[in-house]
Symmetry: C2
Subunit: 177 residues, 2 copies
Amino acid sequence: MDNPSFLLLGLLKGQSRHGYEINEFIERNLSRFVSLKKATAYSLLDRLQAKGLVAEHTEQIGKRPPRKVYSLTPAGEEEFARLLAESLRSAASPEFYGDLGLIFLGHIGREEAVALLRERRAELEAGVTALRRVPKHDGVIGAGLHGVDLAVGRQAALMEADLAWLDAALVRLEAET
Amino acid sequence: MDNPSFLLLGLLKGQSRHGYEINEFIERNLSRFVSLKKATAYSLLDRLQAKGLVAEHTEQIGKRPPRKVYSLTPAGEEEFARLLAESLRSAASPEFYGDLGLIFLGHIGREEAVALLRERRAELEAGVTALRRVPKHDGVIGAGLHGVDLAVGRQAALMEADLAWLDAALVRLEAET
DNA sequence: TTTTCCATGTAACTCGTTACATGATTTC
DNA sequence: GAAATCATGTAACGAGTTACATGGAAAA
């Protein structure tokens, strides 16, 4: 059970939604953080239904196109609880693949490397500033001290640490003969 | 052009290797950081050759099985340089998908959440300790102040920041009514 | 009246994983 | 004689992306 499924189950927890609505929600509120394409969401909802984790019923309002409304089944509730516990429990160490550039730093000239890392620094700083400006999502999903805001806070903290590390690395790199 | 390709091109930079050798190298030196399966590497090498980024020639030593030795073509050198610059330049913000658990924290009881986050804390702390103990890879890929060691240092810094954030978050969570 | 919104989907494609297959040769 | 090493692959599968298709209703 992977992240996309977890996301969909979470959005259906305590609230039925139809596919289009789910896609809208993701685009409007979560696009900064996750990327789940429409087609993927639709077909994933099908698969979740096939697995018995969500139930589907069709409804039509006025002359609008009919919608498929999904809601969690008991099995879905259980699975969501399991995934949530697992997600909170495990550390999911900050990505490493993005560090391939650092691993291969020896294949580029020192000065060029420094120049590129300075660009990275600028981008990172802009990213932190932008994140700190993100409006409060409080209540969008849960209530109280959690939800999107909590994740945003963690993200900002990590990016600030990245910035600090990068500054130190630049100093060391420039001190190299 | 994605991470797996970048990895393979980087391993071929300045040094021809055959498929088996590449897989061995990844397993022995990089398994902590990247996961690229054998079958994937073999077929990816084929694709890279089809794209003209690597050249292939077969050699046989004694009565051992014949090997396919790959090396970068000029186009491959160029592509690698491009990918390296791009990788160093871009910030590649520390993963967010792993934060889905935090986003859905509102769907679980406060005490249970705290208990799970404490488990996460322990795991994270163990991870940091383990990382700090990673033996120096200096010279494995490049030489000097870079290569795997640099990436390990960044990773450790990020994990320590994560730990600090987590502690603060726990304090706030427990202060909630 | 033209564009945007609502709402769902299909088809073709690429990518990565798993499990399996092969067969000689060196090491224990 | 058995096991691990060397060395490369294939086939089947699932997941995700892109581009395309549809068609009525509401808004500009």
